[in-house]
Symmetry: C5
Subunit: 85 residues, 5 copies
């Protein structure tokens, strides 16, 4: 799993039917809590907002966090990070 | 998921039967909305054209966006990006 | 599979229901036994502590190490490394 | 999906039973049609020869191009590339 | 699929039950037959020894080479490489 900070929202009007209603957030990934130059786009499930630190699951496991596990995605925000101890 | 700009069409006459009829587009990936030197080839599902900004799902999730989820691919264009907020 | 050293614990209060009770550890990855600047976050299954060397399975195989193989994760600590011969 | 040029054949006599009869080709990957220093090994399904440009599917989707989808591989050559428009 | 040379054995006493009995080998990956600085850890199925050149399947396909396809791994040595033509 990876962590990062939400930096934007992707707006897509024309998309596959099974993605209608999904919120796509752009996330700048962390490396040991520090910003990197890597980004990914993930579907939000926890109401994450711009600037929040999030935990992301990628690959087939990501879909298991969604109501419909057949949603065509590969990355889902599965938690808000409070802190790293 | 990743985003990028469609830069070309891959033409393949001799291919596996289950890919006949698929449109293969070459996409130059973005990093936070800026061009990178990374590219991938994805099957189009939304009628994307050269120069359009697209949203791509990779891995097993990609196939879930296709009529036949047993299509042997690992990347599908699932949306056209209007803007990033 | 990859190996690394546990360097921290990720605390997330607001998360998807199926991750409640999971322990998220940040791991600094090794390359041939040496520290790298790559990190990942994995669910612990073996009681790993800070500073311990661990073996990690990623992707869909990771979930097979958990009691609930539908847990939405992509990385699990599957063993403590004693030594490399 | 990725593209590249076939540069060699991997010969393996001692291998798992379910790979007997598979042809393993080494492919030098392209980035936007240009050679890179990245390589992968893929099972051939289309009769690709040394020097030919090929289209490759990776991950679980690769196996869907094979007669036996339980073949233990992660990369399959699914087409010969004629040109990029 | 990737290739490399076996450089070590990972010893793990405390691990998940379904990995008991598995042999974990550290492999230094090749790029076109030359050593790289990339490594991975894979379960052996073909009796590979230190210094041997091996062929590795990663991801969900790796498990298909094992007696128990539910083994929680993401990389398996599926063949010994004799030569590259």
């Amino acid at each position: 799993m990876v962590s990062g900070k939400v930096v934007g929202t992707i707006v897509s009007t024309r998309k596959v039917d099974t993605l209608v209603g999904s919120k796509f957030l752009e996330v700048r990934l962390f490396r040991n809590g520090e910003d990197t130059d890597e980004y990914l786009i993930a579907i939000d499930t926890v109401g994450a907002g711009i600037g929040e630190k999030v935990l992301i699951t990628t690959g087939s496991g990501a879909r298991l966090a969604l109501d419909d596990p057949k949603t065509p995605t590969d990355a889902v925000i599965v938690g808000i990070i409070d802190e790293t101890l």
